[in-house]
Subunit: 230 residues, 2 copies
DNA sequence: GTTCCCAATATCCTATAGCATATTGCCGCC
DNA sequence: GGCGGCAATATGCTATAGGATATTGGGAAC
């Protein structure tokens, strides 16, 4: 028989998936800075896995635009969004998201409204939980960014067009944008604008919902842009 | 010294990229049918490479949605578009492409117009080159599909928003859609509709360009849908 | 002092071997 | 005759070793 003394280094689902998520978090949480080289063997040792799943994970992340592979030099973390890419991202969001909001409103039911409202409440709770005297940790920004993302994803999913939601989450720059939240400052404006969108959906007014979403995207762009230029 | 008698099995750029393109063509050209299992080792032997680049290529293709990975069963070719996904694809295209056409028209110059016109002429040449008595080979459909794709990509690229073009080409279903061209039938309608778009762009009429593109998408959807239901 | 060349190093890329798990066919049992 | 369990097989997953190439540092020549 064989002895079973191996310490089981990771939770073990599909190793490649675990590595993919792990590296994604590593980048998004600023533990690796943009432009830095990524050594495959080193990363494999750190995560206690073999290089093969690391390679597969990096190949996926390259499709996400989060890392860049140069022919015989290896992988490196993609640079942060520049001003032009930032404007382009919001132009595409401004095109897609109001459309998704209109569709979602046309098909909306009670469940969707309560789910969206629950997300808003959670965000308000996060904001209230912050102590002014205590500096904001990256976990605060992280939580806030996730709540924002979940709200927008829920609307896209409710549009009845799955491809629309996929297209939105594939906007590779979303991941980079997450990093920007660090500088954005967490304010109650986001929750208020979300509230306006939900109100229009609850009233079954598709055009109002689309307009509220467009307004939200524009204002969000303005907030991020201010933080961006500093 | 070392002897150099190795036969150099592939052109050798970056092996992973070559495998990626090779598998993509294999699927798009119907050499592997949807739903079929893909054996990594077998594929590696066929292409005369080691399993590692095959793994990386398949990981990328999974992000494209062209193959599916099941936990401990391996990869298989993604199933063809169903009717719902087909309608969703055209809904998204109908949202994005007229916008791209409007932007491209606003920024258009002489070069763009001539480039687009050249593409249309090439497509007309392809159509005229077909002999009625000779059955259409897959190379004919392939050539036609590529010309159509190049036209749309050129407009998206000219929009001034790179992300718009990337978003469009990332619509994973485009690859699947290519397979549909086999059943669509090649007609002169496509070239004529392209012509209308270019005419609007040449006249610097952004709204007309957007309308012409929207009309083209709708008609294309109708043509494909007919072939789709057979 | 600067530039060019060479060597040493590091890293990626390829290949192969061993392990774990899912699947399939067969046999026995009910 | 149908069903459940078991064993054999196939396949994907992990790990490690060796070869090829780009990069970097030092030394010599100008």
């Amino acid at each position: 028989m064989k002895e079973r003394a191996r310490p089981a280094p990771l939770p073990r689902l599909i190793l490649t998936d675990s590595v993919y998520e792990a590296v994604k978090e590593l980048v998004m949480d600023q533990h690796i800075e943009p432009g830095a080289r990524v050594n495959i063997d080193q990363l494999a040792r750190d995560l206690r896995v073999s290089p093969t799943p690391v390679r597969e994970a990096l190949a996926r992340l390259e499709m996400d635009g989060l890392v860049i592979k140069e022919p015989l030099r290896g992988y490196s973390i993609a640079p942060i969004l520049d001003a032009a890419a930032f404007e382009q991202l919001y132009e595409v969001r401004g095109l897609i998201e109001p459309f998704a909001a209109r569709r979602a409103c046309e098909r909306a039911n009670r469940q969707l409204v309560t789910a969206l409202q629950r997300e808003i409440d959670a965000m308000r709770k996060t904001i209230e939980g912050l102590r002014p005297e205590k500096p904001l940790g990256y976990r605060d920004y992280r939580e806030f960014a996730f709540q924002d993302a979940r709200f927008h994803e829920a609307i896209a999913a409710a549009s009845g067009n799955e491809l629309l939601g996929e297209t939105l989450s594939r906007l590779r720059s979303h991941l980079h944008l997450y990093r920007l939240y660090y500088a954005t400052g967490i304010g109650p404006e986001t929750a208020a604008e979300h509230e306006a969108i939900v109100k229009a959906i609850a009233a079954h007014q598709p055009e109002e919902a689309a307009a509220a979403m467009a307004e939200h995207i524009t204002r969000s762009q303005g907030r991020q842009r201010r933080a961006f230029e500093s």
